[in-house]
Symmetry: C2
Subunit: 203 residues, 2 copies
């Protein structure tokens, strides 16, 4: 959506934040100039308007960047604003990489409670009871480690109990790529994402 | 992307076309008013500018809608601008639905060349040879009917020979939903699409 410059989350990168502020500035400048185009009687000098936009955006950018770093330090140093997570899928390359990432980056505010092995003795019911007992907020779930029925059951559980469910895709699978969703009549069809050069903006 | 109002394809619905024209009008109006806000010396009456925007957008809309219906009729009546397609995956509910859709809507300009069964005797090499021989442009491929190795092989073939590959997802699978792609460090993570009400624009 166009207004994605308000979408700053804990896993948003700093460079993304800066890009979104730049995008917001351009958007804001257009709105302000459109206002003076509509109220043409006001007859303001463009240099004056640019100064106003510059001041306003500098203030907004300062606040956004300060909040971004304040939150990071609050999570890292004081350990507040945490999210408790669980990883489902045993120890393989992908889950290890994710685990190390969370250990290395305490400023993201994710605390790993447990890494579950999904061997034969794994039971969804026991797992969901454990999730509720331990106030786990997010479940990262390795797709190849679970059957489709287990995934459906987990999704229902997450929906009903307001937990966030995220998937670690099987990186060798074709369907883990970025896919574009569209309908042909009533049939949903996935197509591989278009090449960036097909986008008129990038030409 | 913001400029998706230029993205009109053969499978775009008429209502989507109209919505995109509306979006383009709003965008265009802001640009024009911003122009008059910047060149404040021109001092034009807003009513005059609205008349200009109205005329310009009416012309653009007429051309877009005419081209849309001209192309539809060209495909339907004269049978030009065709795309030859093949469906992989044997006769099941989804492939049948897609097949019927293409038969019922000749204005989309898709001509089904063959529906392949992916039983044990199915061979990717033979299939790709057949695709090149028959100038097939798009391959619709049922995901549950093929193994991951076969899917990877098909993707490589499609990339190297400039054919379009599309997937019919297993509609019972969790991962056939609209997913959001993001990175945690180097690990790609898929999350279920956000609820539309989470979007500030819809509030």
């Amino acid at each position: 959506m166009q207004f994605d410059f308000y979408q700053i989350h804990r896993n948003t990168k700093f460079i993304t934040l800066m890009l979104r502020i730049a995008k917001q500035s351009v958007f804001f400048a257009f709105i302000v100039f459109a206002f003076f185009g509509y109220y043409y009687q006001l007859d303001r000098d463009s240099v004056f308007i640019f100064k106003y936009i510059g001041t306003a955006m500098a203030a907004i950018a300062t606040i956004k960047v300060s909040i971004f770093f304040l939150f990071r330090n609050y999570r890292k140093v004081l350990g507040g604003n945490l999210r408790h997570i669980a990883i489902l899928g045993g120890a393989n390359k992908d889950t290890e990489q994710l685990k190390n990432f969370f250990a290395k980056r305490p400023d993201y505010g994710y605390r790993l409670k447990n890494l579950f092995d999904t061997n034969d003795s794994f039971n969804i019911q026991e797992f969901t009871d454990w999730v509720i007992e331990n106030n786990v907020d997010e479940i990262f779930c390795s797709v190849p480690a679970l059957t489709n029925e287990q995934l459906v059951e987990l999704t229902d559980f997450a929906d009903n109990n307001l937990r966030t469910l995220k998937f670690l895709p099987d990186t060798t699978a074709v369907l883990s790529k970025q896919l574009h969703y569209e309908y042909y009549g009533k049939t949903p069809i996935l197509s591989l994402r278009q090449i960036p050069l097909d986008d008129p903006v990038n030409n």
